[in-house]
Amino acid sequence: MHLSETVSSGFFFLAPWLVFAPVVGLLINLIFSKRFKFSENTIGAVASAASGAAFIVSILLAYSISANHGEMARWRLAEWIHIGALNIDWTFRVDSLSATMALIVSGVGTLIHIYAIGYMREDVRFKHGEERYARFFIYLNLFIAMMMILVSGDSYMMLFVGWEGVGLCSFLLIGFWFEMDTLGRPSWANSNAGNKAFITNRVGDFGFLIAGFLTFWYLGSFQFDQVFAAAPAIAASAPWVIVAITLFMLVGVAGKSAQIPLYVWLPDAMAGPTPVSALIHAATMVTAGVYLVTRSAPLFTLVPQAQYIVAMVGAVTALFAATIAVGQYDIKKVLAYSTISQLGFMVAAVGSGAYVAGMFHLMTHAFFKALLFLSAGSVILGMERGHHHLAHHKPSSPTLPPKGEGSSLSSRERAKVREKTNHSEEVFDPGDMRNMGGLRKTMPVTFWLYIFGTLALMGIFPFAGFWSKDEILLDASLHYPGVYWLLTIAAFFTAFYMGRQIWMVFFGEARTEVAAHAQESPKVMTVPLMALAALSLLGGAFNLPFDGFHNLGHWLSYTIGEAEALPLNLTVAGISTLLALAAIFISWLIYGRNPLKAGQIDPLKRPLGFVFTGMENKWFVDEIYFALIINPFKRISQFLADVIDWRFWHDFVHETVIAGAYNWISKIALNRYADQQGINAFGNWLGDATQWASANLRKIQNGFVRSYALSVMLGVVVILGYLIFK
C-alpha cells in the first residue's frame, strides 16, 4: 500500500474500509449468527453498524478531501492483473465524485438497514421464512460492499467488478423469496424476476465490456487518468473510437440504469422485499449508470453527437415510463416506473453535459425515492397486518403457526402452509391500490411521510426535488430544446400519477375491510423515514442556484472541472411549477373529488380507451420482447440442444457411430472372429490335435512283446538301409 504523491495527511488510509466494513459485517452474520443464535435485532444491528461504519469512513474521506482543498488521493490496495501492457490494480480513488457517491450510498443505505430490521421481522413472518432473516442482511451488506467497490474504483475494470457485483446482489435480493410470487403462492415468478434482472443487465454489461475493450485497445489503459489523458489525441485522429466507446457505455447505462430498451427488469424487480427496491432500485444501483457517465465526462465532452444520443435516450425514457406509471395499479409498480422516469431525467442531464445537475438529482432522488419506497413498504405491511388481523379474528380461519416461533420448516412445507392459508381466504394482494383507500386515517405517520416524498418528487417548492429537477430542465433548455420539452411533459405526468396515487391510497373510504383494519408501522421503521423526509425537504440546500450556494457544483468541480453555475431561471421554474400544480388539480378532479369505490374501474379507462390499455399493459413491451427475441432464442436453443446435441451428436455420432463401431469391433470383430473363431479355435485345435495324436500313438503300446521286438527290428533295418544308401 502506498500513498499517492499528492497526499500528505488525512484519513485516506481508511479508504479500504469503505469496502471492508460491510464485508466484516456480512462475515459476522454469516459465520456466527446461526452458531450463537443471534436474535433478529442483533443481526440487524450488526449489519446496520457495518453500513454505518462505511458511512463514517465516507464522511472522514470527504473531510480529508476538503481539508486538502479538493485534492484527490489514490490508495493502492493490491495488484490484480499484470500481463504485458495490461495493468489493473485494486486501487481506491478518493475524489469528490466518489466521495459523494459513497456518502449517498452508505448514508441512505444505513437508514434503509435500520428500516429493514423492522420490515423484515414482519415480512419473514408473513412469508413463513424466519430462518432467512440473517440471509437478507448478509446480502444487503454484500451489496453495500460491491457498490463501494464500484464507486471507489480507480479504473474501468474495478468499476466493472463492482458493477457486476451489484448486479449479482440485485439478483440475489430480488429473488429472495425465490420459491413464491409476491403474494406468497408457490411460483416461479420471483426467481424469474431475478433472472430477468440479471440477464437484462448482462446485455448492458456486454456493452460496457465492449467499451472497456475499445478503451484498452485504443487508449492503452483502463485507469481513469491515463484514459482521459490519452483521449483527446484519439478524438482528433479517430473520433469514431470515442463515439463507439461512449455509445457502448450507453448500452451499459441502459442496462444498469434502466433506460430504453433495457428497463424491463426494473418493474419486475419489485418482486423483492421493499427495502431492496428502495436501496438498490431507487437510490444506489440504478444510479451507477449515471455515475459512469459522470466519471467518463472527459470522454463524453469530446463527442457531442454521442452526448445528444444519451440525452435523447434519457428524455424519451423519462416520458415513456411516466406514461406507463399512469396506468399502474400496484403501489410499487408506480414507483418503479417513476424511478425509470427519474433516471431518464438524470441520464438526460448528464447527456446534456450538466453533470452537476445530474448528480444533484441523483442525490435528491435517492432521498425522496427511498422515502417513497419505504413508505410504500410501510403501507403494504400495514395492509398485511390488517389482513392477518382479520384472518385471526375470523372463527372460520385455520390456525396459523404462531408468530415469532423460529420454524425450521422446509420450503416445501412452508409452501403447503401458505397454500392452506391462502386457499381458505381468497388470495389477497396487499400492494394493489384498488384494495386500499382512506389509509390517511389508519396510518397517519406513513401518510405524512409519503406526502413529503411525493411533493419532493413532483418538484414542488421548497422540497429538494424542485431544485434538482429545475436545474436539469434549465440545462436541457439551454443545450437541447427537444430534450427540454420531453422532460417537461414527463414532469407533468410525474405529478399526475403521484397525485393519482395519493388520492387512491390515502383519501376516500377504505375499499376493502383489510384497508379499514390497516395498522401503523413501528418506530424502527418510521424513524429512519423521518430522517429521509427531512433530507427530502432540506436537501435542496446542497446546490441552490444562487451565487455562493452552488455547494455541490463547487465540490464536484474538483473532479469534473468547472461547470457553469447557472442562476435560477424563473421562467423554467415557473413553467414546471405551474404544470405540477395543474397536474395535481387534474388528478384531484378525477380521483380525489369522487373517490374510487370498491370494484369501480379506473375513471380514465373509458375516456382514453386503448391509450389507457396501453398504459396499463406497459405498452406491451415485454410481450414484444418475448415474441421477437426470447421465444425465438428459446426455440433455437431447444433445437440446438435437442436435435443437434442430443439426437445428432449424442444419439447418432456417439451412440450409433462411435459406440456402435466400438462395440462392433470389440464384440464382433475381435471377440467373435478374431478371438473365438481365430485364436481360441486354434488353441482348441491344438489341444484336439494333441489328444488325437496321443490317442493314436497310445495304440503302439499294445502290450505285445512281439510288436515291440518288431519295432526294434524295423529300426535296425531302416538304419542299415540308410547306411547302405548314404
Binding site: 497310445r698 495304440k699 503302439i700 503300446q701 502290450g703 505285445f704 512283446v705 521286438a709
Partner: protein, 100 residues
C-alpha cells in the same frame, strides 16, 4: 583259405534266423532259444575275427559271453517257471497287461 567274409555272412544269417524266431514264435522257450542262437552267431563272428588277427581277445570275449548267457538262461527260465505258476500257460501273447 576261407575269406572271413563268409564267416561273417554265416554269422549274419544265423543272427537273422534268431531274430525271426524272437519275432514270430509265441512260446517263450523258443524265444529264449532264438536269443541264444543270436548270441551264438555273434560269438562266431568274434572268433572268426580273432582268428584273422591272431589275437585272443575275441576268444576271451566269447568266453565271457558264454558265461553271461548261462547266467541269463538260468534266471530267465526261473522267471518263466514263475509265470507258468500263475498263468498256467506260457503264451507270451497273454503277457500284455502293460499296454497303454
Amino acid at each position: 583259405m576261407v575269406p572271413v567274409n563268409d564267416y561273417v555272412a554265416l554269422s549274419a544269417v544265423l543272427f537273422t534266423i534268431g531274430a525271426l524266431g524272437v519275432l514270430i514264435r509265441r512260446n517263450p522257450l523258443i524265444v529264449f532259444m532264438s536269443v541264444e542262437l543270436m548270441l551264438n552267431a555273434a560269438n562266431l563272428a568274434f572268433v572268426a575275427f580273432s582268428s584273422v588277427f591272431q589275437t585272443f581277445n575275441g576268444q576271451i570275449f566269447v568266453f565271457f559271453v558264454i558265461a553271461v548267457a548261462a547266467a541269463e538262461v538260468a534266471v530267465g527260465l526261473a522267471l518263466l517257471v514263475e509265470i507258468f505258476k500263475s498263468k498256467k500257460n506260457i503264451n507270451i501273447d497273454d503277457l500284455n497287461s502293460l499296454k497303454g
